[in-house]
Symmetry: C2
Subunit: 143 residues, 2 copies
């Protein structure tokens, strides 16, 4: 498997260990990870702390994003897709979009390249979490 | 003027006094302000801390947003519009969209009611800021 996606999965597992929602993300520039993040809604009581938001925040004020690629274990929702479109991140690589459809079409309409790796491990992590803590999951996606 | 928008303008001015980008926001439920926020990119070195994001974060984990209205001194960008669409905030009242077009069409396509109050004071605050600190402004909108 793509080692960057492996790092995103590690982030998702960290989130799970902390009692949070297991979604992880890494931001890559010139073949190197420049930041990592995972969903911290539960840990920080912060409804905006989705994995991709946490990851982009952890990169700091890097200014330009047009040479970055963001990896996420789950297809980005509208919040995270909005950040990706606004900041001009050119490519999104998602672990899966089975457990949550996300906003792939919206990103593509705005010129973002979106790849769905359809990884079984990513689906399993989410399926188990949704089964165990459905309330937290549906809170996270605003449903 | 709408007193809720007046509160959003106060937030924008707080941001300016702190050396930040003067955009303010309040979240209203059942005729009462439940949270306030302003852009804190500069203050917190956080590229995600747009006014609406800061405001929604400050409301905490309120769960449902379908009875809330968000006020912002400036038309929300894709990041903030993405949050509004994802969480199901039903109505956006913007101070202006002259200095920044924002993502009004995107929100309307997703069933959000968008009102632009076209307020001279909101435009003046932004125009002066963009004139004085263009680099910070263009960094904020990812340009």
């Amino acid at each position: 498997m793509d080692t960057f996606m492996q790092s995103a999965i590690e982030e998702a597992k960290k989130g799970l260990e902390e009692g949070g929602i297991p979604i992880g993300s890494v931001l890559v520039r010139k073949g190197e990870i420049i930041s990592r993040g995972h969903n911290r809604r539960v840990q920080h009581d912060d409804p905006l702390a989705h994995a991709e938001i946490d990851c982009i925040r952890n990169a700091g004020r890097i200014g330009k994003y047009n040479d970055t690629v963001i990896y996420s274990t789950l297809m980005p929702c509208y919040l995270c897709a909005g950040a990706i479109v606004q900041f001009g991140i050119k490519k999104v690589i998602a672990g899966e979009s089975d457990t949550f459809e996300g906003a792939a079409d919206f990103m593509r309409e705005h010129g973002v390249e979106v790849v769905d790796l359809n990884i079984e491990e990513c689906k399993e992590i989410m399926k188990e979490f949704i089964r165990e803590k459905p309330d937290i999951w549906y809170e996270d996606i605003g449903k």
